[in-house]
Symmetry: C2
Subunit: 603 residues, 2 copies
């Protein structure tokens, strides 16, 4: 397993030069703390932590957690790293100041999460899950609940989980069976079994705060009858510490394809004492905040897989010698040329790279709405940001995780047969990355969310806002606008404009077809999601090109870095973007080609 070097310069390029987050922080609570220098200092420190503490225990963490009679032990080094992590105050970075947090904008936390995931995916899930619990309690918890749990979660001395899935229901939460009945003291008693609970049991913290969906007696059927509860592993004692053991036990941990360092627990709730969050039967609404947080985090994981895999493959490709370059010997002293000289190896490396950097840009772009959603100065601003974020979320989660798996596959491929051998570490990245298109809503579910709720039910409003931004970006480079970058940007700007228009057209056309037969929605949803992803990523690559051209023209910045951006952008537009057309064509195919075959023929 190669080392991981955090591309701090790329994060700073995005924050400062491409997206100018500074100017946006002005209207975000806590944003005035986040000066350029402060952000750079934080990223630099976070990078050190990731490189020195997390990355070195990534591969050994693949040995996995062990379960013994309900007790889960994390891999060697995980607990020590976690201790250093909370001591350095990393968990509290973006937490509310009145709960002991530092109150910095979410975008900074999102970037650091990505670094941590790249360094050590399974480890990073522990604090990642806590964040979901924090977000839920911040939004929907009572003051007492915040005092009891939020402070401990923000400081990281306790961790959190989200308990949704049951053996017979993942996506379709309405089928849930876990039951909650009221106790006399205002608390509840919960019985049932939850599965696939990431970070559900471990030895990193003194207590684990489970956020659990369950049904009250006489709850309405389906998802309208779900309520949300806090179920701590240990009940809070008088002095606020972890007290009496509660009725939740880890029945086993799953044997998975990857992310072995994270204990994926089966949790049995046996008369567990529970505390209602928000209103009865409003549990799903209270979960939405968590879902937005979790889905951005998962989208980052796609970029993380691509980055880690790229770094490993690029190093190997520079060192491994095989065959001579077809266009002439490149390494005359050696017995063969480095494989990076072979065009097809470059193709794989650049594909990984544009996925990593393009995905990171997509997430960072959306993180400005996460900042406003959480820290906007008015309810209006917050609501508007929530809607903008909500449009981006399924694209980010669905598209980037799919491409993350692709990138990890290329990483294995660059290594040839060695890629398949555990000791090189590349296959672990692939196995780990594979979970990301499954959890927090599969790609298919993201696609339905995008098409159904975020485009059709929204009557194209957010699609028009997003594509409007693409068009006005492209419009800067029209000849009469006299932009100094007009000539350099003309081709990419024109492509971005075409993507925006076609994206709208595809959406309208899909709406027409859905009127004829609603199955057209599901039949084209994943292709529409993928088209959306390529359009969004294309927009980001054009923005990065523009920022790089500007800086190069001004003579500032790191020339190699900026030129790499231009080369990568060119690669994206020439050699990756053609895929978008294939998705456009497929999503316009006739419905019969998918639905006409009788179910009984699927044997």
């Amino acid at each position: 397993m190669p080392d991981y070097k955090v591309p701090v310069n790329d994060y700073l390029f995005l924050f400062n030069d491409v997206l100018d987050m500074q100017s946006k922080y002005k209207s975000v609570q806590g944003g005035d703390e986040a000066s350029n220098d402060m952000v750079e200092a934080i990223f630099t420190e976070a990078a050190k932590f990731c490189e020195n503490e997390l990355a070195p225990i990534y591969q050994s963490g693949d040995d996995g957690c062990t379960w013994d009679n309900g007790v889960v032990t994390t891999p060697a080094g995980f607990k020590e790293a976690y201790q250093k992590f909370i001591e350095a105050g990393w968990t509290s970075l973006t937490g509310s100041t009145d709960m002991g947090g530092q109150g910095l904008p979410s975008s900074i936390g999102i970037a650091i999460n990505e670094m941590m995931t790249t360094a050590n995916w399974a480890w990073a899930m522990y604090p990642g899950l806590s964040e979901g619990a924090v977000a839920t309690l911040e939004t929907s918890g009572t003051e007492q609940q915040k005092k009891d749990y939020l402070v401990k979660l923000i400081s990281g001395v306790w961790s959190g989980t989200m308990c949704l899935t049951e053996p017979h229901c993942g996506t379709d939460l309405g089928l849930m069976k876990t039951k909650a009945v009221p106790n006399d003291d205002g608390s509840y008693k919960v019985n049932g079994t939850k599965i696939f609970i990431s970070a559900g049991e471990h030895d990193l913290t003194d207590n684990i705060v489970h956020i659990v969906l369950a049904k009250l007696p006489d709850a309405p059927k389906g998802t309208k009858g779900l309520s949300l509860f806090i179920i701590p592993k240990f009940l809070v004692a008088e002095d606020g510490s972890a007290g009496e053991r509660n009725g939740v036990r880890c029945g086993s941990i799953e044997h998975k394809m990857g992310i072995h360092g994270n204990g994926t627990a089966v949790l049995n709730f046996d008369d567990a004492k529970a505390f209602l969050i928000g209103e009865p039967n409003q549990g799903l609404a209270a979960m939405f905040t968590y879902m937005n947080v979790a889905r951005i985090g998962t989208a980052s994981q796609g970029a993380a897989a691509a980055e880690r895999s790229y770094q490993g493959a690029a190093k190997y490709a520079r060192e491994r010698l095989a065959m001579r370059s077809i266009s002439g010997v490149k390494n005359p002293e050696g017995p063969a040329d480095a494989i990076i000289e072979h065009p097809d190896v470059r193709r794989m490396l650049l594909t990984q790279r544009v996925i990593a950097e393009g995905g990171r840009a997509m997430v960072t772009y959306a993180s400005q709405f996460a900042d406003l959603y959480r820290g906007g100065n008015s309810q209006e601003e917050r609501d508007a940001a929530e809607i903008r974020l909500g449009f981006c979320t399924p694209i980010l989660k669905g598209f980037i995780t799919e491409l993350g798996v692709e990138a990890a596959n290329h990483g294995v491929q660059v290594f040839g047969g060695h890629g398949y051998i555990k000791e090189w570490g590349m296959e672990q990245i692939l196995r780990d990355s594979r979970i990301a298109t499954l959890y927090e809503g599969t790609t298919g579910i993201q696609a339905l969310d995008l098409v159904g709720r975020k485009v059709l039910m929204d009557k194209f409003k957010q699609l028009n806002v997003f594509t409007g931004e693409m068009l006005s970006f492209a419009g800067q480079f029209l000849p009469w606008k006299k932009s100094p970058q007009a000539k350099q940007m003309r081709k990419q700007a024109w492509t971005v404009a075409k993507l925006a228009i076609k994206w709208r057209y595809l959406a309208y056309r899909m709406a027409m077809r859905a009127k004829k037969n609603p199955d057209n929605v599901g039949a084209s949803s994943v292709d529409f999601l993928m088209y959306s992803g390529y359009a969004y990523m294309g927009f980001m690559w054009a923005k990065m090109s523009f920022a790089a051209h500007k800086q190069l023209a001004a003579g500032g910045g790191d020339k190699n870095f900026l030129e790499s951006k231009l080369h990568s952008a060119e690669f994206f537009f020439e050699r990756i973007l053609p895929r978008a057309d294939a998705h456009a064509k497929t999503l316009s195919a006739n419905l019969e080609s998918l639905m006409a075959m009788p179910t009984s023929y699927f044997e």
Copy 2:
């Protein structure tokens, strides 16, 4: 892990109705034995063996081989299954009659290999590797070598391996270091280390016959200085049995991503006694036969992964309930509809299915050339068949294995989170399938073989033959030809014709660009390979459509099966084939977008 049911009807449809192998067997040695009835009986028996003996130990085989001081033990049940396998005479099916084989055409063996791989990938590799050794000895062994080894290999009491790779060289065999020096008795003494030797050490047979590439003293540099040797684990005793232990030891077995049931050995040759095959320094030429065999076998593995994964996913999708169908309730008695009713789940299932069936058709089509290559009645016929097979091989191996991984990914995805859990078996298929794009030459190497040797150096001759066949197939349905299927086939036939023409155009264009800069070859090779694969697969789907239409018109055959073929073909043309255009567009992109970035920027 779901059961595996061999789709015997699909094999028979291909052999009898689509490709009419019977008529082709007339000009193949041993072909007269292979009547329709005989082929059906063989497939039916093979299916029983696969379903009853191999499939049940597929998942448990994932526990893997164990290594103890050079001794490798295969997973529980593997040895017993192998014993039954050789007792039933399966290894000798296609072997030469004068060496104890049954002399049946290779195409039958290729089909059965695919069934066995689908049932149990890691297990099927043991006899699979023996076949490579058999092919090499049949072509290049002396009579004495055949007597000593071939009879034992064909009967299966001994097994074989192919030892090429060394730690520092896989593809670039010219860098090889293993040395052979002549002994006084005409034998040789070999020293060196080989890695990644599939089936390199195990407990299934009394002896293992290693076919090893090594360098003689004063051999020419590079691949022209390689010689091929037989190095048996035990030297052949006077009575023909396994005698004295030879100097080859298994230093370790690799820890891999998958195919755990096959021991992938590091073999140390320490003054091992070796016997030259063929002429000195002509080792690579003697390996070509093996490579053709191995690459077809690996191509089949792509179809196998798709089939096994499809069967598991289709069963799950019929049973798992979640959400209601958007076009109306399909399962009113249940709490939700089966997920197979959701269009996106169907999309994944049909994608798997067209890969499995389309890939199988591609391999079967090529196997007619394998028959002629091995059993053609004249040298001229055999040479012509070798060239036709040689054109198909890199497409089959490169394209079908890539799509096999895709299909296995869909299989995991249909299961949602459960797909990631070992107990369900879907992730194992994915892990196993991942090796196929790496071994026996990566996809990139297949692409260079296709573009460089099989298209450009061949001056488009074989491409013209193949595409000519596509055009004459399509031409049958021109209006004035009065084919009864003209109307039904018009659209697909027109698409096949367009594919053929564009395939030629892309090849000519690539040749022009290669003249300007040879790096254009490597820059477009994988996209060209993928385009070729979709074109070839499209041709197969059109042929299958035609056969199904004819049978339905005649009122014969299994209606459900034939209609499924038509639905699947429609799905392929409408929803998979658009990808070909994306590859065409990408392979025409400017070279600078790939090669302009300096190597030093790949950090």
